[in-house]
């Protein structure tokens, strides 16, 4: 391969000269000044910190994580007892945060989408009601709403002995919602695995079907086949393992229910509060996404002979989603951060547990650091997903 002649190759960058007229030198001077100022500030704060911690005899380091926690946690997804370590307690807290966040996101999306579509309804009553919902809940602080729901839920639930019994195995009382879960069974992990395999298989089938359509023009009922896979594989596994139907059902023993899973009223409060609040914002996002696709797009697609379903799927939805997804993901992030208000209602999420920890051990810096690290990890991953999505769907422009 002939090498590019020297006159054609791009020359190397010129060397820097030591004068304020040289842009590189000036840039270096500015940055050194700013970094220096910030660095000085950091050094000043850090030296104060060290002096104060010595004077007040505050311990430092993460050694406390392996000490015994000594406090109980009312709702836990994994086994935990007050004799377990602080580290385990914090993990329970993180799991509780994730639980609230995931359930909240799912429910808020459903409710918010319905409200957003409802605001655009041709029925005046429905449209006005949805608007009223959105304008009311968006303008009241979440903390106020949480306190309100807490009072409503706590005050109106009956005592344990007179628990409401809406469905077999479900008990609603002041202690919370007790519900049955599938009993521990060796087949359970297999069923879960089958579900995951079903999801992966339906994605693979979708890819294959796209390729086949590109090559031969034949469409394929990907949606139905995919849904069938996701449902059928776990069901088949369940049947194959002898169709176990044993449930761990809660039973009233003494002052509380044993067995099953108990969702404490604080959890219900937090989920209800977060869902109703975030749904109001999601409704606006969905509404503006739908409005953003100009009617001309639908008209052009119909003029080409596409049917309504395809128009929605191929023309309207992709453009609407482009507008909807980024702010939607921001709202998911907000919901996750807002779950930290669990402290106000006494739900043991990571903030509550870390707060208790730092009160007991006196190590405030490590405690707050853990809280911030957990949320940062969640935020950065969600932002990463959003950036990836934005890059993937970005319209190519001149």
């Amino acid at each position: 391969m002939a090498s590019i002649p020297t006159s054609e190759r791009r020359p190397a960058a010129p060397r820097m000269r030591l004068s304020l007229g040289d842009p590189i030198f000036r840039a270096v001077v500015y940055q050194v000044a700013v970094v220096g100022a910030v660095g000085f500030l950091v050094w000043y704060l850090a030296s104060n910190l060290v002096a104060n911690m010595e004077a007040r005899k505050i311990a430092s380091g993460f050694g406390f994580l392996s000490r015994e926690a000594g406090f109980a946690i009312l709702q836990k997804l994994i086994d935990y007892a007050p004799t377990d370590t602080y580290l385990r307690a914090l993990i329970v807290g993180v799991l509780n945060t994730v639980l609230v966040a995931v359930i909240g996101i799912v429910l808020a999306t459903i409710l918010g989408t319905l409200l957003g579509i409802g605001r655009l309804s041709r029925n005046w009553l429905v449209a006005r009601l949805c608007t009223g919902y959105v304008e009311t809940l968006r303008n009241i602080p979440l903390a106020v709403q949480l306190f309100f729901w807490y009072v409503v839920i706590k005050d109106n639930l009956p005592a344990v002995r007179q628990a409401l019994h809406p469905l077999p195995g479900f008990f609603l009382s002041q202690r919370g919602l007790a519900m049955p879960v599938p009993a521990d069974n060796p087949a359970n992990p297999w069923i879960l695995a089958a579900f995951v395999v079903g999801v992966a298989a339906s994605i693979a089938v979708g890819r294959w079907a796209k390729r086949r359509q590109a090559a031969t023009g034949q469409p394929f009922p990907t949606l139905w086949v995919g849904a069938a896979l996701i449902v059928a594989l776990p069901v088949l596994t369940w049947l194959a393992s002898g169709a176990p139907t044993a449930f761990d059902v809660p039973e009233l023993r003494g002052f509380n229910f044993r067995g099953g899973v108990i969702l404490i009223p604080e959890f219900v409060t937090l989920v209800v509060g977060l869902t109703t609040y975030t749904a109001a914002f999601i409704a606006e996002i969905v509404r503006s996404g739908i409005l953003a696709v100009s009617h001309g797009q639908t008209e052009a697609a119909l003029a080409l002979g596409l049917q309504r379903g395809l128009v929605l799927r191929l023309v309207v939805l992709p453009q609407a989603l482009r507008v909807i997804v980024p702010p939607m993901i921001s709202q998911y992030l907000n919901l996750t951060k807002n779950s930290s208000l669990a402290l106000l209602v006494g739900y043991p999420d990571i903030v509550s547990v870390a707060n208790t920890t730092l009160n007991q051990t006196g190590q405030a810096i490590e405690g707050i650091g853990i809280i911030m690290a957990v949320f940062l990890a969640i935020s950065l991953s969600i932002s990463g997903i959003m950036n990836w999505y934005n890059k993937k769907i970005a319209l190519v422009e001149r």
Binding site: N52, L125, E135, T136, L344, I368, M372
Partner: protein
């Protein structure tokens, strides 16, 4: 509609009603088809039931006053009628917290000054340098009124302050101080100098990634550790610092959006005329960018206003915490949380809804101007 049907309609009374403007509107918006009609009827029925239930609890069966703190009357009606006596007895505590009773005219005037400043800033014809002076004078007056110590007003320390003034102070000073900070962060994030850009990005992403609760903890617990031992700052100031640092990151992102919207030609024209970076930014870029982002700036302020309700976590008596205080401290008023929180919700709602309507109004103005 066919002519025969139309003529029939016009001849009957029912048809006369249907023929009116209201009737036609109802027909197309409420009863335009079987499904629509069914939905309207079901929703109207449920709505009527709900309104009746709420009205009977909140209005018809409500107790508006009780002698002294004898709340037995209220308790008997719990669940049937609201106990607004809670509000009529305790409204001064909810509005002003533990501020001494006789001096409460001072925070009351402070609140009025705040509302006047907000209102004036919203109206475009007041936008001039005089508005800036008004703000400086207003904020100074608020400080003097709340603290006292001069003009014959007794000194009241910040730990006695509470209620609505705290909410307004935290939100307003937070926004005002965080705003220039946020502008610098936005400019820094768009800078070509890698060190400055990195510092700004790290700050913004770090603060935006963590909840305000953790910032409040940090300020309340950790800030004293970062300062030399002989320097103490009071709790309200710590909360204020946390709110400022938090707001600056969000304002920075909003301003950055505005900066990105300025066409490259403006930067080029400024450069071609020989203006320096700071001259171009101050005279050309910032005025245009900030004007574009007024609606999201107002929305960010609304969010900050709502977020001040979290300071109850670090035991500062803002409006929400004062309301919680009325039902948690005195045994006579225990258990009337619904009334307290509904009242406080209404106050917040009035502020936030007005600001949000304003922001929508500005947005409509801006898009109308752009369509020219």
């Amino acid at each position: 509609m066919s002519d025969a049907a139309a003529s029939l309609n016009n001849r009957t009374a029912f048809g006369a009603v249907l023929g009116t403007r209201a009737g036609q509107w109802a027909r197309s918006n409420l009863f335009s088809g079987w499904l629509n009609t069914a939905v309207t009827l079901v929703v109207a029925y449920l709505l009527a039931k709900a309104i009746f239930a709420v009205a009977s609890w909140a209005l018809f069966n409500a107790v508006w006053d009780v002698p002294d703190n004898q709340t037995q009357v209220c308790r008997d009606l719990h669940g049937i009628g609201a106990c607004w006596a809670l509000i009529t007895h305790n409204y001064r505590f909810i509005f002003f917290g533990t501020y001494p009773y006789d001096e409460q005219w001072r925070p009351a005037i402070a609140v009025l000054i705040f509302i006047a400043l907000y209102g004036a800033s919203a109206m475009r014809r007041f936008w001039s340098i005089k508005l800036l002076y008004a703000w400086i004078a207003g904020l100074a007056a608020i400080g003097i009124l709340m603290w006292g110590g001069i003009f014959g007003m007794p000194l009241i320390e910040t730990d006695r302050w509470g209620g609505l003034p705290i909410t307004l102070i935290l939100a307003t000073f937070g926004a005002v101080i965080a705003f220039p900070f946020g502008v610098f962060l936005a400019l820094g994030r768009r800078s070509n100098l890698p060190a400055i850009k990195t510092l700004c990005v790290v700050y913004i992403e770090l603060i935006r990634g963590v909840p305000l609760v953790s910032m409040l903890f940090m300020a309340s617990v950790m800030l004293p550790l970062f300062l030399p031992q002989d320097l103490t700052i009071n709790k309200l100031l710590r909360a204020q610092v946390a709110v400022i640092m938090f707001a600056a990151a969000y304002l920075a992102e909003v301003v950055r959006g505005g900066l990105q919207a300025i066409p490259k030609g403006q930067y080029e024209a400024a450069n071609a005329l020989g203006l320096t970076y700071w001259q171009g930014t101050w005279f050309i870029i910032l005025p245009q960018a900030l004007r574009i982002v007024i609606p999201p700036l107002v929305n960010t302020f609304i969010a900050m206003f709502k977020d001040t309700s979290l300071v109850s976590i670090i035991a500062i008596y803002d409006l929400l915490n004062a309301a919680s205080g009325t039902i948690n401290t005195e045994p006579a008023w225990r258990g009337f949380g619904m009334e307290a929180y509904l009242f406080v919700a209404m106050i917040y709602w009035i502020f936030c809804f007005s600001m949000s309507k304003y922001s929508q109004h500005v947005e409509a103005d801006l898009s109308r101007a752009q369509k020219r």
